[in-house]
Structure formats: C-alpha cells, structure tokens
C-alpha cells in the first residue's frame, strides 16, 4: 500500500482531497508533522483561500523547508500549487520558490473567480493523455512557462498544471473533477 500524506495545515479542501484518494482505494494520512511528511511515498499539498494567510501558517508550522526539500513525488493543488511558486500577487507574499514563476491576478475585465469546468490543453507528464475539462476555482494564475505541463484558457492562456523534478501542481481541483480528476490522481501515483 502506498504511503500517501496530505499536508493538513488547516486548508479548507483537505477533507475533499482525502475523500478523493479514498474513493480510489487509498488511505492517506493527514498531518502537519514534518517527520511523517518526510517519510511518505507521496505528498499532497492542498489549499484554498488566501495566499498570504496560508503561507503564514506554513511558515508558522515550520513546513517551508520541509516541503522544499522533499524528494518523493509532491502534488500541489490549487492554492497549494501557487504557494510552490516564487511569489504571489495575492497579498504580495513570497512562496516556496519551487516553481520558478510568479502568481498573477486575472484581468479585471473577466468574471473572477474563474469558476467552473474548463478545457485542459497541451497535456504532458502527469497530464499526458488527459482530455476534457477539469474544475477550476481561482482568481490568480500562473503564466505559461517551461514548467507548464497543461494549459487552460480564460482571457489568456495560463498554466493548468506544472511539473519540475519530483514536484507537480494542478491549478484545478482533481478531487472535484469527476473521472478526469481521478485519472490525474492515478497518473500522479504512478510517478
């Protein structure tokens, strides 16, 4: 049985992420304990809410260095992925700097949050073979860059998914994206 840890730092979607893995037959551990996180086979870093508040919690729990130094596959979900970037315009806060990108706010001309099912395009890595739509809810985005492994279009093209070494990120919510989301979670667990 794969030892999956979901980092529980009080983020709102921890339970939903946990249930998604459980529906696939896994039984993740929810914890903020650095030692348990470090020894996991797979680590999931969830998140919804405000970047600055979340980053402060991560710092206060002493998890920044822990996450940055993980060597096993790590999946950041939504805000989790954004916190793995260099910097976020949401609260002008520094992130973990794993992905070499800044997080930007969507144009005011658009309805924000970008909310609903949208197409994931140009898929590779853990997104390889994925077709259709996934569920997005976010007001900030990561521009397209060399770490982009799937894109999405809302006013502009942005990163739906990122990968760098053992680190992966999804801007959308795989735990809320029906069968397509399950496929992506299973791809991650095959890393």
């Amino acid at each position: 049985m794969k030892n999956i840890v979901i980092i529980d730092y009080g983020a709102g979607n921890v339970k939903s992420v946990n249930f998604a893995f459980q529906r696939l037959g896994y039984n993740p551990v929810l914890t903020d304990d650095p030692k348990t996180i470090k020894t996991a086979d797979y680590v999931v870093f969830p998140g919804v809410g405000h970047a600055k508040a979340a980053m402060e919690t991560i710092e206060a729990k002493g998890l920044s260095e822990v996450i940055r130094n993980l060597k096993q596959p790590v999946l950041g979900v939504c805000l989790g992925m954004q916190l793995m970037c260099r910097f976020s315009e949401e609260g002008d806060v520094n992130g973990l700097g794993i992905f070499d990108m800044d997080v930007k706010k969507f144009d005011d001309q658009l309805k924000v949050p970008h909310m609903g099912w949208n197409d994931v395009l140009d898929c590779s890595s853990i997104m390889k073979g994925v077709t259709g739509q996934t569920y997005f809810v976010h007001s900030y985005y990561v521009p397209i860059n060399q770490e982009t492994i799937a894109s999405c279009e809302y006013g502009i093209k942005f990163s739906a998914s990122l990968a760098k070494d053992n680190f992966f990120g999804c801007q959308f919510h795989p735990e809320k994206s029906g069968k397509v989301g399950e496929e992506i979670i299973l791809n991650f667990l095959n890393q």
Binding site: G12, N13, K15, S16, F19, A20, Q22, R23, V48, G49, H50, D108, L110, K111, V112, P113, H114, M115, G116, W117, N118, D119, G132, Q133, Y135, V137, H138, S139, E153, Y154, H173, E175, K176, S177, G178, K179, G181, E182
Partner: protein
C-alpha cells in the same frame, strides 16, 4: 473554453430531498446521496443543497449529511440554509462542502459576507438572493420568499460583491415554480452589475429555457430542481441540445 454549468438543486428536509412548488407544497424526491451520485454520474456540473429546515439542533445532522456527500461525490457542491456565522460555515466547510450559500442572514447582517470571505476566501461564499418584481422594482425577499424587504435587488448584489461574495445565486420568486422560463432581463442586469459569476434560478420548465438563458444573457450557470428530480428534463439530453446550439457545455 469555460463551460456553462448545469446545477441541480436539492432541497433537504430532515435528511431527505424535497422540492416545493413555489416553496409551499413539498414533495419527496428521494435520498440526497443517491440523487447526488446519480447527478454526478450523468453530468451535473455542480450541486447545491439547501437545508430548508436548518435549526441549530439539526446542524450536526446536516454536517453529517454533508460529509457523506463529500465522501461519495466527485464534483463541487454548495450547502446553504440557516448559515448565520463563521462557525456555522466552518462546520459545513470542514465536513467537505466546497461553498456556503448565505441568504437572509447576510441581508440582516451584511458583514457576515466579509467575515466569511476573510476566513475562507470569497471563492466559497455564495450570496443567495430571492427577489420579486414589485411595483417598486425588484425587491429582495426573505424566509423563502415570504417576507418582503425594501432592499433593491441590484443594489444588494453590488454591495454583496464588495463585501466578499464570490458568486451570486439569484432566484426570481416570480418565476420559481412556474416552469415558464428564467427571468432573463433581471438576470442579465445582475450579471452586468457584478464581476463575479452568477447562477440563474427559478423558472426552468423545458430545455429551451436553458438555451434562451445562455443565448440571451452572459450568465454562466443555471440551477433547477424539480424538472431534474422528476426527469422532465434529462441532463444528458439537455447538454446534447445545448452543445448542438454551440453553447459550451461539459459532457461526460
């Protein structure tokens, strides 16, 4: 391209799904979990659960139901009914709800929207508003439409956005239960006034009503209850029709 969302609404009373015609006569339409799973399987894009008998004592029962839904369903869902405080919302969000809908409590104490947005982010704060077109214009109504206020619908949705709502669920009491189509003009006006997504509710009776909504307004989502529960409209066929009319929808 962002897809137009089709959202079945499940009214919950004592752990069962009900739907009132014009919010008065209630008919039993099944078990919430089974209905939710069915809707998820056939292509509903989101679900809304409104607890119409939520009292303080029953909140724990609701939280348990919410957790069962979250465990079983892999699409997003909103829960509303009697949410009056950050604590109320916290219980439901921690049980696995993705969004919280607030209605009367936000009218009575608008700061609630800000408190919720500050704590959980505006993406999970849905302002649910019931309104009627009176001789003085569109007025907000409370307690499931029974109590009229002097608050103007359009002022209220703008203010709600500024306070922290991340989405508006607008039900026209004049259209709800009539099956005569959505309140297109008022919906378009609400949509133009706010820069957050708007869900249309009230009046869906046949497939054409959804076509009209998405062709004649910029609205991004449509909510309905009895037409789905009693299978007057089947979601796969509805989406097929909308797709043929070049309205972007998700198919499963």
């Amino acid at each position: 391209m962002l897809r137009k969302r089709i959202i079945p609404c499940l009214d919950i009373k004592d752990g069962r799904t009900v739907k009132g015609v014009n919010f008065v006569d209630l008919q039993d339409a099944g078990d919430p979990i089974e209905l939710a799973k069915k809707y998820s399987d056939i292509g509903a894009d989101e679900l809304v659960f409104l607890d119409i008998t939520a009292t303080h004592e029953k909140r724990k029962t609701l939280a348990k139901l919410v957790e069962r839904i979250a465990r079983n369903v892999s699409i997003p869902f909103t829960v509303g009914g009697g949410v009056r405080s950050v604590e109320d919302a916290d219980v439901l969000l921690h049980a696995g709800a993705d969004k919280i809908a607030v209605n009367s409590a936000a009218v009575k104490r608008p700061e609630l929207l800000t408190e919720l947005a500050d704590k959980f982010g505006n993406q999970c704060v849905v302002l649910s508003v019931d309104a009627k077109n009176t001789e003085d214009g569109w007025k907000v109504h409370l307690v499931g439409g029974r109590e009229r206020t002097d608050i103007d619908l359009f002022d209220w949705v703008k203010k709600a956005e500024q306070l922290g709502a991340g989405e508006i669920l607008f039900t026209s009491m004049d259209h709800d239960g009539t099956k005569g189509g959505f309140a297109l003009e008022a919906l378009q006006k609400v949509d133009e006034l706010v820069s957050i997504p708007v869900i249309a509710s009230g009046g869906a009776g046949k497939e054409e009503h959804f076509s009209d909504l998405f062709q004649q307004t910029e609205i991004s989502a449509a909510l309905a209850a009895s037409v789905f529960h009693f299978q007057t409209i089947e979601i796969p066929e509805l989406k097929h029709k909308l797709a043929q009319e070049n309205i972007p929808v998700r198919t499963v």
